[in-house]
Point group: C2
Chain length 144, copies 2
DNA sequence: ATTAAATAGGATATATTTATCCGATATAAA
DNA sequence: TTTATATCGGATAAATATATCCTATTTAAT
């Protein structure tokens, strides 16, 4: 479904959201431990998220990654997925056709429509805040 | 969503279904042309489909790949996807957790549930026959 | 100013997926 | 039995995704 990079990006963003809500910046090392991911690879993904304005970075001593407190409830999963995997998940053709639309549909075009729309709606409506709250309350988990 | 191999496998199966319904066996060369895929790679995928009893192969002169006429309406997309990509699309965790279930859900476990169930239902209810019919009638296309 | 701690980013390595090549084997027809 | 035509399957190559390493740069605190 998502690439590894995207999975890490989502989990990292949730952890950063939690930390930021407590006024703490976090380093790639802390993040990688918390979400059980390779540290250097995770750092690359964080750079991409910074570039796409999903998270902020502060260089130098006492720096790290953070999310503006007011933004946590505004950031949607879709933004994170878009920053890392692009929009091919719900835009590209299910069977890889270059051109696939109503006029020239692939064999599964119609069948896929609702699944993909559901996915898109879910990604566009789910906020980092609600995901962070569930982690904080112990209702869900970032690693095994 | 699906791997390239799986995309080729679905399109190839549809084309074989059409040909078989007309009593014709087809070679990897013909298939690759019809679905716009690399021939040798497609041949590997066909082998996998044979091994999983989705399609039949007949070796030797005048041989090729075919699907039992009576099976065309019975074969579901899910069987093809399963043969090539396995069931991780609708079984594996959306965020890659080793363990992810009701007792220990990842952050998006609940959000994903309906999307994945929809996908699974779609794959398990869609037959090769209906996809083949739409290609034959010109309602959908195997390549651009 | 100096130092310690942090991100940024280029270079490189590894793993996986995608793709190609070629010889072995099977089989129908002549 | 020979020949032409297929699949089968192992070896290899190329492309992409994942992961690591190292140095440069930035910056807060002393």
């Amino acid at each position: 479904m998502f690439s590894k990079a995207c999975e890490y990006g989502i989990k990292a963003s949730i952890f950063i959201a939690i930390s930021s809500s407590e006024g703490k910046r976090v380093t790639p090392k802390q993040i990688a431990e918390e979400i059980n991911s390779p540290q250097a690879f995770t750092a690359k993904i964080l750079q991409a998220l910074v570039k796409h304005n999903v998270i902020n970075s502060v260089k130098g001593a006492y720096g790290g990654f953070e999310i503006e407190k007011n933004d946590i409830s505004k950031i949607k999963l879709a933004q994170i997925v878009n920053a890392i995997d692009g929009d091919k998940i719900y835009r590209g053709c299910g069977l890889g056709l270059e051109i696939c639309d109503e006029n020239h549909p692939c064999p599964v075009h119609d069948k896929f429509k609702s699944v993909r729309t559901d996915l898109q709606n879910m990604l566009e409506s789910t906020t980092l805040e609600e995901l962070a709250i569930n982690i904080k309350s112990g209702a869900s988990f970032l690693k095994v």
